[in-house]
Symmetry: C2
Subunit: 272 residues, 2 copies
């Protein structure tokens, strides 16, 4: 999916919501465990209930890998089930030497056919560029993450450039990719920074985790984070998929997604 198509969907749905499919077999409703593939069955019902309110899905590969090759199958089935109208981000935080990054790119962009993959920048340019050579496929590069550990290295000033590490990552990466194939992960737990972040990368989409369970502020980050293509995909995982825990879990997830979509429609109306 290209940037214009993503923006068209955002306008049509009046939503920039990404639903995170962090599906934990220990947390899904008990009545689903009789299914042959309970994880897929859960995701299927979550997708059916939320697809009208979101423009993207973000399966978190860790939750599938924790179930071995069977989990990997559930992931493949889930990605296949997501409608073509939705942007799919594999949240895998990969990144390795060139020949290895190429294999990850093949895994996610060719075989799984997702639209985007989260990538970690620590290993630098030649670990990221192998993911950038695919038509209408995207790297979502970690910059300033939503967790407490973002303080440990990302916020440190780099002597060579007089910028924090996350800023240097954002500047350097714009030499490697364009606003048509590169997004940044910027945590909602740093809402005070969104004006500055938008100034660093005016054209790029930001994937924003940390709304909901992690406590980020949707209004502030939208007000300061929007660009002319909206430029934000705001993710909620646990706040949506575990909104309910009984027979009506999918309905509860749909309601939670609808509530966020309605807030987003207001914010788009007010600030875009």
């Amino acid at each position: 999916m290209n940037r214009q198509q993503l923006f068209d969907n955002i306008q049509k749905k009046q939503s920039y919501l990404c639903v995170g499919l962090d599906t934990d077999i220990k947390r899904i409703p008990k009545h689903l465990l009789v299914n042959e593939d309970p994880v897929f069955e859960f995701n299927k019902q979550i997708i059916d209930a939320t697809k009208d309110y979101c423009v993207a899905y973000k399966p978190n590969t860790a939750f599938y890998e924790s179930l071995g090759s069977k989990g990997w199958q559930s992931l493949e089935k889930t990605i296949h089930y997501i409608p073509d109208s939705h942007f799919v981000i594999a949240d895998a935080k990969r990144g390795d030497i060139g020949n290895t990054s190429k294999m990850y790119a093949s895994a996610f962009f060719e075989n799984m056919n997702v639209d985007a993959l989260t990538v970690a920048p620590y290993m630098g340019e030649d670990s990221v560029t192998p993911f950038l050579g695919f038509d209408e496929k995207w790297v979502v590069l970690l910059a300033l993450t939503s967790n407490k550990g973002s303080n440990d290295f990302q916020l440190d000033t780099q002597e060579s450039v007089g910028q924090a590490l996350y800023e240097k990552v954002m500047h350097r990466a714009q030499e490697w990719g364009s606003a048509e194939n590169l997004m940044f992960v910027l945590g909602a737990t740093h809402p005070e920074k969104f004006k500055e972040l938008r100034a660093i990368a005016p054209e790029h989409f930001f994937l924003v985790p940390g709304v909901g369970a992690q406590g980020g502020d949707l209004k502030a980050l939208s007000q300061y984070g929007f660009n002319k293509y909206c430029g934000l995909l705001v993710n909620s995982s646990r706040g949506i998929i575990y909104a309910g825990d009984g027979e009506n879990f999918a309905e509860a997830a749909g309601n939670a997604a609808a509530k966020l979509q309605s807030e987003m429609a207001d914010l788009l109306d007010q600030y875009l």
Copy 2:
């Protein structure tokens, strides 16, 4: 496996060689493709041919993921096939927010039962510590990698500490883990740095990729990198597993591993 057992194996084998199982279905000998699981068949023969000369194996998860759930099965079978006497490192370069890192830890330490997992430090303390709570399991944390992109961020001086990023990573991580559950990835392509690296972390094991295809210098890094537990696992992937490409590929791999083991025996004798 604990540190003493690893060192005992190094002394017994007179080897600190780790064989990297970066098994690419496009590069394995054609005659193996008739097997039901050619990737596993290749690995099985490589393991049989090299196990006397190495103390560790490092399957690179990218190569298995690129084949989807089938590849994940080949990985599981490969790990199961590696003798208990050998240290197994899943080279996956994972790292995410706490609840997600926990799932990766479960995937690799509980389900796959590997000894160690490579982890990327960009997201800081709470992305790394969930991997450190498993008895006799190890985090192998990226510090100074073997690729050209290691220049982009890792070598940058951090104003807060007056140290390069990789140094800060090594210092901070020693507050999180001990020499009994934490190793560092330090590329053989920086042999001039091994004296300094050993001074930063005198007790910890280093996993050293980049010997062979990437051109690192075994003698220099051994001379300066050894500690009283040897403290080095030197990895070679392509230089061993693709030493031959015909019917005799396993024999060629065994010979390549034996040659490195013999160099290592001399270096242990000379410098340990």
